[in-house]
Symmetry: C2
Subunit: 296 residues, 2 copies
């Protein structure tokens, strides 16, 4: 168990259809975070490419790659050179017909520390993820690293208190959400604010319920809908860090690209849980029905 300060680099960026340009930008941002003292750098969801789930197109499976594979090699080298632990988010080709949305954590020595396959898969207009991603089968398992035990989840998992709780029950010291979420383009200000607020509040709620810091790293920029049916997605950025009482430590704007180092203090976890002892009082004799779809 690691204690003390954890310096976290958040990389929020806009992507283009030029994968090499995306890579060069990621590399520059990661190096800048490392130079600014980051020990852990977190990338946004599916950071190598455009968010390709706006349409269902079987050709997009060509973007998937094995793990380990070319991306983990590249990022492993970069993590090692920079001396940081790195949370990446990749499109995993496991076999023909099984693809996952997978976060791979790379240790500062360049080795793969562990991976998490996105468990909750959304499917909404512009986010046709059920077409692409087989639901994860690795469960909610924190990943041990030299900077701490990381509860890595991905995007849609943000809305499920169960995922956060299970990571906490398995000893996670921080919840981490690589994300790609945004607004429909012709959306009014009020629903935009409401959606963004709900996204932040939901995750701050996980911090509070579990006495853990939370980091969400989201994409920014506009990406067109290849089908032309909609005006695409305006990714809402707002990457943030909250402490174990849900307090906002840092929050980015919607539009800026960010490479920002933020410090969280892991020793606060136990301080907070001593005064807010929710784990002591959980009614585990009554929770078995949480594994039901609906109780009718």
């Amino acid at each position: 168990m690691v204690h003390g300060a954890m310096r976290i680099g958040l990389v929020q960026q806009a992507n283009s259809s030029n994968a090499e340009a995306n890579w060069l930008k990621l590399r520059r941002n990661i190096r800048q975070c490392a130079a600014a003292g980051a020990q852990l750098v977190i990338l946004q969801e599916l950071h190598n490419t455009l968010y390709f789930c706006q349409t269902e197109d079987a050709a997009n499976f060509d973007l998937a790659e094995p793990i380990p594979g070319p991306s983990t090699e590249r990022f492993s080298q970069l993590a090692k050179d920079s001396g940081i632990v790195l949370v990446t988010s990749l499109f995993e080709r496991r076999t023909a017909g099984i693809y996952h949305n997978t976060a791979v954590v790379i240790e500062k020595n360049g080795q793969i520390a562990g991976k998490y396959r996105k468990m909750h898969i959304p499917d909404d207009p512009n986010y046709y993820e059920k077409f692409y991603f087989t639901p994860g089968d690795l469960g909610f398992q924190p990943i041990d690293t030299s900077v701490g035990k990381l509860g890595v989840l991905v995007c849609w998992d943000q809305w499920f208190p169960e995922a956060a709780r299970l990571m906490a029950l398995k000893g996670a010291q921080i919840l981490i959400y690589p994300t790609a979420i945004g607004w429909e383009v012709p959306e009014k200000d009020r629903p935009r604010q409401l959606q963004l607020d709900a996204w932040v509040v939901s995750q701050r709620g996980h911090a509070i319920a579990n006495g853990l810091p939370v980091v969400a790293v989201n994409r920014t920029g506009h990406e067109a809908d290849p089908s032309g049916q909609t005006a695409g997605i305006q990714f809402w950025g707002n990457s943030f860090v909250a402490g174990p009482q849900g307090e906002i430590i840092y929050q980015a704007s919607a539009d800026e690209e960010v490479q920002r180092v933020v410090t969280v203090h892991l020793e606060r976890i136990e301080k907070v849980r001593r005064i807010w002892p929710f784990f002591r009082d959980r009614r585990i004799d009554q929770y078995h029905q949480l594994a039901r779809r609906f109780i009718d």
Copy 2:
């Protein structure tokens, strides 16, 4: 299943050691809510008395009463006369040595619609509830009424996503939290704001995760610590109503006494759940370990 608008009366008040004065104030406030169109009136936790859990004093068990009993009789008559459904919060004497913190819901015809015995019991300096309240054994069961299916929980339950989820899975149309929470008196502004924010965010999080409106009704005013060991509790009021996307519809101040009618629209529940389909995607194959204390 009831649909449409639900007009909810919130009664936030300061209590004194004069039980008759508390009753008269409650009666006046309930009647005012009814006169202003409330169909459902919600009272704060343990509204009949001072919050007696600041010390552990066996004489306080004299405050407990059977259910049904004198309080349910009084409030039943009042609910019937006012034509409202009423959520009360009583200190229940079940038998010698078994006392509960029990919310009793009274139908507008004066009959008891159901009761909920507080499941999660806190124990902190100034809130010695484990001394007084046996943990509830009725589970998380919504209460059917003429205005809808009410997911009544109590205070400390606010911090447990499991409680909210189980109520939702059993068909609750709204989450309701009678509450008595406040600040230590010599507490600084920043921790005060942090605690209050966390309390609101936690419950807004339940609204979002479950696509349900949430109502919390809290006590206001200062109550001294009978032991003289502390400067007592400044109950922080801030009773609020949030919609099914966690949006704040109404929030009281910390200090005012309130009898306020707020409308929520139950038809929004399904609208919201259609666009935020979290229930569709829960990984119920993976949630059984939520019934564990810790997974070590």
